[in-house]
Amino acid sequence: MTGMTEVTVNGTPWTGPPGTTLGDLVAEWCASPRGIAVARNGDVVPKSSWDATRIIGGDRIEIVTAAAGG
C-alpha cells in the first residue's frame, strides 16, 4: 500500500491513490453532487474547490446531505 493515501470518510477508513481529490471522493460516494456538502478536518470545503483539493493522509472527511428531520 506504499504511496496510498489513508483517510477517514464518514467515520470509515478509506484508502485511495495519491492525488485523489474531494471531487473524486464525492463521485465515488454519491450518485450526484446535488445537495451534498463536504467538511475536511472540521472545515467546510466549497464545491468550487473540490476538484482542486487533494486529500492528505489522516484527513477526516465528512460528506453530508439532507435527511428527514424535524
Binding site: 446535488r34 451534498i36 456538502a37 467538511a39 467546510v44 460528506i63 428531520g69 424535524g70
Partner: protein
C-alpha cells in the same frame, strides 16, 4: 421595541379585551423580507414511507420544510431534496442533533453549501432526555451565524427573555417550543407564548410539542405567525389526513385571532335579549 402590546389574547378576564381587529384582508407571512407562502411549516422526520411524506407535504400546503444534515448513505438515493424541489417547497435545513454552538455553526455552513441557502433552523440541544434547547449556546451560535449572513430561525424555550435575546442577536424569527420535541403535549405554557408574541417584532413560529390540530389552532389564536409541525403529522396513523387537519387548524386559528375573540366571563351573558318577552 413596540412589539404587539395590547393585541395579545389574555388569559385573565380582568385584563381589557384586545382592540377591535383590522377588517383588512389577512397579510402574508414575511420572514427576513421574504414572503413564505404558508403559515404551516413541515418537519420531514419520522415518516414511515416516502409516499406518505409526499402526500403529507402536498396536503399540508406547506411552502417550507425542514431537513437534517446527515452523512450520505451510498445505498440510498438523495431523493429528499429532489422531492422538495419538485413540490416547490423551500428547504429549511436544521442543526438537529447539535449540542454545542460550534457544531451547530459548522452544520449550518454545510447546509448552506449543500442547498445554496442562507436560511437555517438553529437547534442547539442541552439535554438528551428532554431535547430542551441550551439557551447559552443557542444565543452564541445565533450571533455568529447572523454575523456570517445567515437567516437564523432559532428553536428556543417558551421563555420570553430568551426570545428577546435571540431577536436582539438578529434572528429573523423566534421559534419557541410548546412542549418537548415529539412529545405531543401541546402548549404547556400558553401565557409565555402570548408574552413572546406580545413583545416580538419578528415572526413567532410555534415549534415542537404539537400533538393534534387543536394545539395548532391554539398557537395561532395566541398570535403565533406560523407553526412548525413534524411528529404530529409524520407519526400520525394517516399522515396525509393529519397534514390536511393541521392546514385547516392554522387557517381557523389565524382567522379566529384576526376576528378577535370575546372576553372570558365568569358568569353567563345572554345572547337573546329579554326585551319583548311574552307574559306567559
Amino acid at each position: 421595541m413596540a412589539g404587539r402590546s395590547g393585541t395579545v389574547e389574555t388569559m385573565d378576564a380582568s385584563v381589557p379585551a384586545p382592540p377591535p381587529p383590522s377588517t383588512a384582508a389577512d397579510t402574508d407571512l414575511v420572514i427576513a423580507g421574504q414572503v413564505v407562502g404558508s403559515r404551516l411549516i413541515l418537519g420531514t422526520g419520522g415518516m414511515t414511507s416516502p409516499q406518505s411524506l409526499r402526500d403529507a407535504l402536498i396536503e399540508s400546503g406547506a411552502a417550507m420544510a425542514t431537513v437534517a444534515m446527515r452523512r450520505v448513505d451510498p445505498t440510498t438515493p438523495h431523493s429528499l431534496v429532489d422531492l422538495l424541489g419538485e413540490l416547490r417547497i423551500q428547504v429549511l435545513p436544521n442543526t438537529a442533533g447539535c449540542f454545542t454552538a460550534s457544531d451547530a455553526i459548522l452544520t449550518a455552513k454545510l447546509a448552506r453549501e449543500a442547498f445554496s441557502t442562507d436560511w437555517v433552523k438553529l437547534e442547539v440541544i442541552g439535554d438528551e432526555a428532554t431535547l430542551l434547547p441550551d439557551t447559552v449556546e443557542l444565543v452564541a451560535a445565533a450571533e455568529e451565524l447572523v454575523d456570517d449572513g445567515f437567516v437564523v430561525l432559532p428553536y428556543c424555550g417558551d421563555d420570553p427573555v430568551a426570545a428577546r435575546r435571540l431577536e436582539q442577536a438578529g434572528c429573523a424569527a423566534v421559534m419557541p417550543l410548546g412542549s418537548p420535541i415529539g412529545s405531543g403535549l401541546g402548549i404547556r405554557n400558553p401565557h409565555n407564548i402570548a408574552l413572546i408574541v406580545e413583545q416580538a417584532t419578528v415572526p413567532v413560529v410555534l415549534d415542537a410539542g404539537v400533538g393534534t390540530a387543536s394545539d395548532v389552532c391554539v398557537a395561532m389564536e395566541l398570535g403565533c405567525d406560523a407553526v412548525l409541525v413534524a411528529s404530529a403529522i409524520t407519526r400520525a396513523h394517516q399522515p396525509p389526513l393529519m397534514a390536511r387537519a393541521m392546514r385547516e387548524a392554522v387557517s381557523a386559528g389565524r382567522a379566529a385571532r384576526n376576528a378577535g375573540r370575546i372576553t372570558r366571563r365568569f358568569h353567563a351573558h345572554a345572547s337573546s335579549s329579554f326585551d319583548g318577552m311574552a307574559d306567559l
